[in-house]
């Protein structure tokens, strides 16, 4: 077998040195009744070519060749082959967690750079070296707030990504935390400040708000920070679309930011692996989960980097750890660091600006269709909730025949939003693709009996 660097002769020689007749003898400590007495009933073995053929065949059974306008926590952005080629260097790909700092300086310096970039992006003072993803980062941020305040209640915006919310609920349930929900304002799509104010009391550890939220609307973070701080709670801001921070003011007033960095150089990859980040104030750093790289000097004064504040972590604290996280998403964080190094200050601003422009172009084109309009008045980055005159599911079913994946139907998540869909447009969508979406949707609406009459009435409503 090509991955095993031994010949049978070598195995024989080693056995001789060990004074053994067969490798079987080395398994004698396993009781008979614990042993498997037949070969594994599994497919394989496959050669390299057969492995590639197998996965190519699976790749052909998915959505390659379709134009997708899906966002909702996973975003299709420009990535560079330059970064990917560096990421595949064996010294990065096949290295271990940098516990032995002297021979892991490459990884450690890159982590330090990642932490810095995340602070710059979020406007916070410290950031960790990654959590699993944005959803678990949000749950961990909530746990952190619970530890910091000693309180046991969470107030969560209804406009938090529903899957993020499910994750927070899972963690909260096991710890017996109370969870209250704050509605969003039907007109603006922003979380209802009055509802948050009413729900955040002296028992509340954290208010959790996402920005831009699941509906695509940017939230007034500073206002929610003030509301949370009133009764002594913390504000946790979740960010699912990290690219938005290239054009939208960062959540600097939040106490803890829980971000998904997938937009910044990671492939969608059917949902993972991604890179969650927790960023916060320096004064909270000892309650922060996950690894941290810090600057250090050796005896000659040379600068290096080490994993630090490890006493928070599972391998030392054990029962009293701030989290049980061990393996994180280091290679993904490295990919983000490489991507941002390449994209840089100007590139990030330009990319974000293109997102703003393309999304608005798409909205303008779509609003020319009968009965289609933007559902919320709040500001948006590259995702926007559109209202349609027919079920979004039905429209998408027809669009699929044109090899277009239309806006995500919101009905499954918000029962009162059935004719609404979440449209995501990024710098990767060409004008032609956007035009094609609009044209195809127009055709579908016509076939579903939506006429010019509705166009007139929907204009009058505005």
């Amino acid at each position: 077998m090509r991955y095993l660097p031994k010949s049978d002769a070598e195995r024989r020689a080693i056995l001789d040195e060990l004074g053994l007749g067969s490798v079987d003898e080395l398994f004698a400590s396993i009781p008979e009744d614990c042993r498997l007495k037949r070969p594994l009933d599994v497919p394989g073995p496959l050669s390299e070519k057969e492995i590639i053929d197998y996965f190519r065949a699976r790749a052909g059974e998915n959505a390659a060749g379709y134009t997708s306008f899906l966002g909702a926590g996973v975003y299709n952005h420009l990535r560079s082959v330059v970064a990917d080629s560096l990421l595949q260097r064996g010294e990065f790909l096949t290295s271990y967690t940098p516990y032995q700092a002297e021979i892991s300086q490459g990884t450690l310096q890159a982590i330090f750079e990642f932490q810095t970039l995340m602070c710059q992006l979020t406007g916070q003072e410290v950031a960790n070296a990654s959590m699993y993803d944005g959803s678990t980062a949000t749950a961990e941020a909530a746990m952190m707030a619970v530890r910091l305040t000693g309180r046991r209640r969470l107030v969560i915006s209804r406009a938090l990504h529903p899957e993020y919310r499910q994750v927070v609920d899972t963690y909260a349930r096991d710890l017996g935390l109370e969870v209250a929900e704050a509605a969003f304002v039907p007109a603006s799509g922003q979380t209802d400040a009055g509802a948050v104010r009413a729900a955040a009391d002296g028992q509340t550890a954290a208010v959790i708000v996402q920005s831009p939220n699941f509906l695509g609307v940017v939230e007034p973070v500073a206002e929610f920070a003030e509301i949370a701080h009133g009764p002594g709670a913390l504000l946790v801001t979740a960010v699912a679309e990290a690219m938005s921070l290239g054009a939208v003011r960062p959540p600097a007033e939040a106490d803890i930011v829980a971000m998904e960095a997938q937009s910044l150089g990671l492939a969608p990859s059917y949902g993972g692996p991604f890179a969650g980040v927790i960023a916060t104030r320096e004064k909270y750093v000892r309650q922060m989960p996950g690894r941290l790289a810090g600057e250090a000097r050796d005896a000659h004064g040379r600068r290096g980097f080490v994993l630090t504040l490890a006493t928070r972590e599972q391998h030392i604290r054990r029962e009293k750890a701030t989290s049980n996280i061990c393996t994180n998403q280091a290679l993904c964080a490295l990919a983000v660091t490489m991507h941002l190094a390449l994209v840089g200050k100007a590139g990030m601003a330009e990319m974000a600006a293109q997102n703003l422009a393309k999304a608005r172009y798409a909205v303008a084109e779509m609003e020319k269709l009968p009965g289609v309009r933007r559902a919320f008045t709040g500001p948006y980055f590259n995702e926007v909730t559109l209202e349609f005159p027919r079920s979004v599911r039905m429209i998408n079913h027809e669009l699929k025949r044109q090899r277009i994946l239309g806006p995500l139907p919101l009905g499954p998540y918000f029962p009162e939003q059935t004719k609404r869909g979440l449209l995501c447009v990024t710098e990767l969508h060409s004008r032609q693709e956007i035009d094609r979406l609009a044209a195809a949707t127009r055709t579908v609406l016509e076939s579903l009996g939506v006429g010019a009459r509705e166009e007139v009435s929907s204009r009058a409503e505005r």
Binding site: K6, V23, F55, Q88, R89, P273, T308, C332
Partner: protein
């Protein structure tokens, strides 16, 4: 004053490596590394569109380097790292095996890397088929009945496993209060139990380093929900009484959780489902070769027996009546969702590619892994103290007892090993062996690499006896020496700021 080693070093010599500051220290205003296609729709003014209170200018402090500077930056950094591609990592319980390159290729295929998790399920059958095939492979290896591929790492898998135990017991009327954890366990075990809402009680190991069955019987009362066990344990020893332990627990209505970190000793040889385990996790970044990448990503699938199946996290991969695959979230007894979407799909692709490469031949990898560990044991047991004498499987644990007499401890030996061209083994773990040296070579090591490792360790043992200062002040050949972790923890500097002056 350090002296040259007693024997010449075979594996490594000194080598010039290039200095490289931080990205931010290399930046100059106006430089950029990536250009975008021109905007093909009308540009918009951010302040007008978002409002002045929401708009932002360019990110202050973001790097400004050209493409070649970016390439040199990361290439130089990479040369400062040790990696499996350079040589053996003898780290115990980490299973640092070869990361096959074909796995990288298939994970990046158009049609796999490009798929959106919320796209229609009928356009995702290829992804789902991959997951189903991996599920079946892992169920066959573990001997369990049902599985989730959602957890992102072993720790998250452990959490899911304990949460399922809790939900199961709650559905029987009483979730109970306590989880038993051996004193030899990995730190994630007790940390996980607490996150899942349980108290932790440590149980002793006996003189052979295995779980003390009488201690277990004494502690396992109606307040105990489960025992978390690693098998083989962290000494590399198979818990021969594990089936008995399972009986003791089951008789009292408790469950047996197995930490699958050491599956590299069992794959194809013994199946946890066959010796009484109710629920276990696997570490695909260990046994199934997915790359460590400097610390992750990993994947920690959790496999369960039928009675725990209703509690699996959502969504569950399910086959529909027409034979197609889909996601089922209509599971009233689920412990809930562990993370958004379905798991680290890219990691799962790599794991399946590895599994398919071996097929039933995976047992050969297990046999070589155990052979390699025993070879190292034989070649070092005369110079390093072996505290537990019973047979070991895929890993062996020595102690620094002999070297301690000269003031040389396991950390020192580990640091000196770096000068010989190896990554250190696991130091100071498991906690039940004071001054532990925990060594797991894996099946990926050739005879030559093993002999180089043995030669290095024997040389260091000689140095510890004859010139201990050389070992205590190691490493001597790295870019930086031992870093002052105390100062780093007292006044943590966790990011670059513009005021920083780069060090020489």
């Amino acid at each position: 004053m350090p002296q040259p080693p007693a024997q010449p070093m075979s594996k490594a010599t000194k080598h010039v490596s290039i200095n490289e500051g931080l990205l931010f220290e290399r930046s100059a205003a106006g430089k950029r590394g990536m250009e975008l296609p021109p905007l093909d729709v009308p540009a918009v003014d951010a302040v007008r569109e978002l409002g002045a209170e929401y708009a932002r200018g360019p990110v202050e402090g973001f790097p400004e380097v050209s493409e070649i500077e970016m390439i040199r930056h990361f290439t130089r950094l990479s040369t400062w790292n040790y990696a499996i591609d350079l040589g053996m990592y003898p780290l115990g319980s980490c299973t640092m095996k070869y990361n096959p390159r074909v796995n990288e290729h298939v994970a990046r295929l158009e049609g796999l890397a490009t798929e959106h998790p919320l796209q229609p399920v009928e356009l995702s059958q290829g992804c789902l088929r991959i997951l189903r095939t991996l599920e079946r492979f892992l169920l066959e290896v573990t001997g369990m009945d049902a599985i989730t591929l959602e957890p992102c790492a072993g720790a998250q898998g452990e959490y899911a496993g304990i949460a399922m135990i809790r939900a199961y017991l709650a559905s029987q009327g009483n979730p109970r209060k306590r989880v038993l954890v051996p004193d030899s366990a990995h730190g994630t075990n007790p940390a996980t139990a607490v996150t899942a809402g349980y108290e932790v009680l440590n149980i002793r190991s006996d003189a052979t380093g295995r779980i003390d069955l009488s201690h277990l019987a004494e502690y396992a009362n109606e307040d105990v929900a489960a025992l978390m066990v690693t098998n083989p344990n962290t000494l590399g020893t198979f818990e021969k009484d594990i089936a008995r332990a399972a009986e003791v627990l089951h008789a009292r209505g408790a469950l047996l959780y197995m930490d699958g970190a050491n599956m590299n000793a069992l794959a194809g040889v013994a199946r946890p489902g066959d010796f009484g385990v109710d629920v276990m996790h696997m570490n695909l970044h260990k046994t199934f070769s997915t790359p460590h990448g400097g610390g992750g990503p990993g994947a920690g699938p959790v496999a369960v027996k039928q009675h725990l199946e209703p509690f699996l996290p959502i969504p569950v991969l399910a086959e529909k009546a027409d034979g197609t695959l889909g996601w089922d979230s209509n599971r009233p007894k689920t412990i809930g969702r562990l993370r958004a979407f379905y798991g680290n799909f890219g990691v799962l692709v790599r794991a399946l590619a590895y599994a398919l490469a071996y097929g039933p031949g995976m047992v050969e990898a297990t046999r070589d892994a155990v052979l390699n560990a025993n070879y190292i044991r034989k070649k070092l047991e005369d110079v390093y103290d072996l505290p537990y004498k019973q047979p070991c499987m895929h890993e062996v644990v020595f102690s620094d007892a002999r070297q301690k007499k000269n003031g040389v401890n396991t950390m020192d030996i580990a640091k000196r090993l770096i000068d010989y061209g190896f990554h250190p083994y696991t130091t100071a773990f498991p906690l039940i062996v004071p001054g532990a040296l925990m060594i797991e070579p894996t099946e990926s090591e050739s005879r030559l690499e093993l002999d180089l490792f043995v030669e290095a360790m024997r040389s260091i043992a000689a140095e510890a006896a004859e010139s201990p200062e050389l070992v205590k002040t190691a490493p001597h050949s790295t870019r930086v020496g031992r870093l002052d972790e105390v100062a780093a923890a007292r006044k943590p500097v966790l990011r670059w700021t513009p005021r920083d002056v780069p060090a020489r």
